[in-house]
Symmetry: C2
Subunit: 276 residues, 2 copies
Amino acid sequence: METVSENACFGGVQGVYTHAAKTTQCDMTFAVFLPEEAKDGPVPVLWYLSGLTCTHENAMTKAGAQAWAADHGIALIFPDTSPRGDDVANDEAYDLGQGAGFYVNATEAPWAPHFQMYDYITKELSELVFDKFPLDEARQGITGHSMGGHGALTIAMREKGRFKSVSAFSPICNPTVSDWGRKQLSAYLGSVETKWVAHDASLLMLKEGFDGPILVDTGTKDQFMDLLMPEAFAAAVSSKRQQATIRYQPGYDHSYFFVASFMEEHVAFHAEALYA
Amino acid sequence: METVSENACFGGVQGVYTHAAKTTQCDMTFAVFLPEEAKDGPVPVLWYLSGLTCTHENAMTKAGAQAWAADHGIALIFPDTSPRGDDVANDEAYDLGQGAGFYVNATEAPWAPHFQMYDYITKELSELVFDKFPLDEARQGITGHSMGGHGALTIAMREKGRFKSVSAFSPICNPTVSDWGRKQLSAYLGSVETKWVAHDASLLMLKEGFDGPILVDTGTKDQFMDLLMPEAFAAAVSSKRQQATIRYQPGYDHSYFFVASFMEEHVAFHAEALYA
């Protein structure tokens, strides 16, 4: 692991690091915010998964999360959204290939050799950050935006017992029936749709549920509402009798101005679960 | 004036606009954050002037200022840092020409036709925003970062009675003796150094002072400390017996992580003056 940069930030440190990842077979970049309390020992962790076209950098610079994480003494981890590099498969579309890993392990050509983002996040990067930084593995929460909201919800439900809390900003909630999902799941996992089920938050909710609180925010003026389908997740939550808060925020769209506006509440939501 | 974008943000609206500017003879882009209170009538205003290489966008997306401006019911204005365009003079260096207007009115070729940033900010853009948005002209504060901190301090001292408060993040404090200053003032204003005095915060402090509170933050690990010279401003403040707070923040550098870390305190500082 190499340090790209470290900047003092809200009493702690905002760092950017790279490492040669085995799962994705390429160099991966990620960011970690450590609050001041990390000097004294392991702190709780909030993972933030980003959306289509994003890198580790978008939320790190635009979501304003460090202010609130510092308030609560919580670390933040910002992974990249896909493998990267000249020898990594890609597509001209913004929503497939590099920048659009969808947090799955690809089984199909040409994606399979590098697009192992599910394992990268849940195994390799996890092992690395808990090894290298003073983070408390027993106190983890996860959140994300759009495709990253999909990643947060699906990972939280699949990795049973690992996350105390999960939240999402404008998540892709039902990718098996959305144009944000069918194209990518088909490309990465093949045409057998039963294989897609494990990566659909609404279907996972019906099947698995989540042992903890859930918070989902979507703006009423989100320009991608029809692709996100929060109503499918709400229906699944209702059917499952799952503890959850599904909010539609008046006037907000899909941008980071929306994410930043509600970051304080999301971090506080996770802090309540992580310090319970 | 044309609207580029408007996004709901912390209960208010973050907008980006363009207009054909007469002073700079080119299209100029700027951003305005209006808090929710602006729906009910004019609100106080905090100007934010950006640094070298920046546009209206850097602070709008990375400084986290809207959270605190919303808390205090204050509008934010983010101007660009220079004229822009293919027919506008430029230089290959990052610190001269486009992105580096230094908030002066250039008198020298090839800069004079477009590089009229002092008049653009203090006259043309001011008239425009007070005409188009519900802003209270009697309650204005000004801040900025680096070259924009220089702009904030010098404009506040020159435009007597207009600003209730001025603050700056890692400002260029003594450009007439710094390599961040001598090059640009020479290019824009010519080699007669007496003409530079009106754009040097430390010299202006000795001569004019400021009728209100001043807050200046610089990081102890600022990589450009030798170019910023906050000690010159501190010496001038001391000599003038000026009300001011000059802080050196331990461990912080020149980045927006530093700006974001202390934005809450800067906005609160201005709010106290604007609501006095």
